[in-house]
């Protein structure tokens, strides 16, 4: 059954793809340009990358970002899986609201609310406050991915295990968990990416001393457009691409939004 689309639909779709990719291509190409200006192609160089690896502030920011993203994705995966399981299995009243709300409201609200909260608690702003905040907004995403996976699971398998005498914990350990594992891994990769990319909430909860990659990029871009930003952007794009490839391998269904 072949339904041919009018030509203008093809053209506009192609234009939309170009619109999505051209800017990123510009960033990548000009990271290899032998000129301080991001305007004209002068010649090939890897000097901006070399400079990046000598930039101490950037290296510290990268280390912070990785540390925060690893911790936040680990903790939020555990808590988010529990939440996703609870949402699927029990009739909860408050949890569904608390899982979706951080995703549904403007990010800036959560950023400033957490800032006030930490200052009221006299908690020094820094890596700890950033990590605590990231866990809070990642839980919901993991929970939704895990719940979607559970919804697609054949319930009778768990019932069979229980009928054969497995305790609820055993049934979870040997039946449910292996089945939802792709969802859990996909959720954790999602949390990792969200954490390493987060700008708004980090901006408010970082304080004066701690920096992450997005904060570092922001302060550089605020001052001037420089190819060094192109270089770090290109590296981050590659990292994201790798994570997505892994996620797509582990949970191919994740791409489809049939929820």
């Amino acid at each position: 059954m072949n339904r041919t689309a009018p030509r203008w639909v093809w053209t506009s779709a192609l234009a939309a793809y170009l619109f999505l990719y051209l800017p990123l291509l510009v960033v990548v190409v000009f990271s290899f340009n032998d000129s301080k200006l991001n305007a004209e192609w002068v010649g090939f160089t890897t000097a901006w990358y070399a400079r990046l690896f000598r930039n101490n502030e950037m290296l510290i920011a990268a280390r912070n970002s990785l540390l925060i993203a690893l911790t936040a994705s680990l903790v939020s995966t555990v808590l988010g899986t529990m939440a996703g399981f609870a949402l699927h299995k029990y009739r909860m009243r408050v949890l569904p609201v608390l899982v979706v709300a951080p995703i549904a409201i403007p990010e800036i609200l959560m950023g400033v609310a957490l800032l006030m909260f930490y200052v009221m608690l006299n908690l020094t702003l820094g890596l700890v406050s950033i990590t605590l905040s990231h866990i809070a907004f990642c839980i919901g995403y993991v929970a939704l991915v895990v719940r979607a996976r559970l919804a697609g699971m054949d319930e009778s398998l768990v019932e069979a295990a229980r009928d054969c005498g497995a305790t609820p914990l055993e049934a979870f350990r040997y039946v449910t968990f292996p089945l939802i594992l792709p969802g859990v891994i996909a959720g954790s990769l999602m949390a990792f990416t969200l954490s390493i990319d987060d700008f708004v909430i980090t901006f408010f909860t970082a304080g004066a001393s701690a920096s992450t990659l997005p904060l570092q990029i922001y302060s550089m871009v605020k001052i001037a457009v420089t190819p060094e930003v192109n270089a770090i952007s290109t590296l981050l794009l590659i990292l994201t691409l790798l994570l997505i490839t892994v996620a797509a391998r582990v949970a191919p269904g994740l791409l489809r939004m049939n929820d």
């Binding site: 999505l20 000009f30 029990y90 403007p106 400033v112 200052v119 229980r162 990029i217």
Partner: protein
């Protein structure tokens, strides 16, 4: 302890599973949000932050002053209206760009769909600031876009314009960073449409436009509203985009919220602005959700 009859878990099991994430979200989301609501009724401290909750005379230091200040000056309301319009224009452009794209993906051969969809999502997974930065380069004065435009404008004697640091730049970047949010729900909706409806309409003599107007479009409304909410809410409260590409004309409400917390350090007023923003966004989403409910029509 376990009966043969499957119950939805014992109370203890339920608390063991749901308790930890619930506790975490209460402490690090619900409580801070609640404190912010309270803060909007408190007084600003002498050196920023908040004044003590109890005054020296023993009374409560609570007032509606910050709300009064918000409604007394038209400045902030105007800024809200402006941010609303920016978000609205962004949503409309995203819809216009995303609809043909989503339709095409939904109608392409099954084996290509995942790939085409992945190509839409991929840029969305790249860092938000990188996507903003890319446009800072493209809209910059040294780039072909600005040069060509100014050369053309120069011919008719208008001119030169700057693309960067303008409301135009804000809208372009807002559209760019939010486009995938519109494509995904639209695709999810369009993919489910029953093709026999269109065949029936064609057999009855309906033209392409009539088929779209009376079948595809009404059926796609839930997707349209879902996508619109996903674009509108983040665009409404954004501060990084106007901050980086907006210049002085492109300021939005998010910039003022940021400024109240980090520069003016007037927490009560900053809280008022954040609460009004969130309330406005949620009301609009609620309306969109209502509108998106499937209509009762001849089934």
């Amino acid at each position: 302890m376990t009966g043969t009859l499957r119950q939805p878990g014992s109370a203890r099991e339920r608390w063991l599973v749901a308790g930890p994430p619930l506790a975490y979200l209460i402490v690090f989301f619900a409580l801070p949000t609640l404190l912010m609501v309270v803060a909007s009724f408190r007084l600003a401290g002498e050196f920023g932050g908040l004044a003590p909750l109890r005054s020296e005379s023993g009374g409560w230091n609570l007032s509606l002053d910050s709300y009064g200040r918000f409604f007394a000056s038209s400045l902030y309301l105007q800024l809200f209206v402006k941010s609303f319009l920016y978000a609205l224009v962004t949503t409309a452009i995203c819809l216009a760009l995303a609809y043909p794209l989503a339709w095409l993906i939904a109608h392409s051969a099954k084996r290509y769909r995942d790939l085409l969809l992945l190509l839409v999502i991929l840029p969305f997974w790249s860092n938000f600031l990188i996507r903003v930065y890319a446009w800072m380069i493209i809209l910059g004065p040294d780039w072909a876009l600005a040069r060509t435009l100014n050369a053309v404008l120069g011919l008719v004697g208008i001119g030169p314009v700057t693309l960067m640091f303008s409301p135009f730049a804000v809208i372009v970047v807002l559209v760019y960073v939010h486009l995938p949010f519109m494509v995904l729900p639209l695709y999810a909706n369009l993919e489910k449409h029953d093709p026999t409806l269109l065949d029936a309409a064609r057999d009855l003599g309906a033209g392409a436009w009539q088929r779209f107007r009376h079948i595809t479009w009404p059926l796609s409304l839930p997707g349209v509203f879902a996508g619109s909410a996903l674009v509108f809410i983040p665009a409404f409260g954004i501060f990084a985009v106007p901050d980086l590409v907006g210049g002085t004309d492109g300021i939005m409400i998010g910039n003022v919220i940021k400024q109240q917390f980090l520069e003016a350090r007037d927490w009560p007023f900053g809280s008022v602005l954040s609460i009004v923003l969130t309330a406005a966004a949620l009301v609009l989403t609620g309306l969109a959700a209502l509108a998106a409910r499937p209509r009762r029509s001849a089934a």
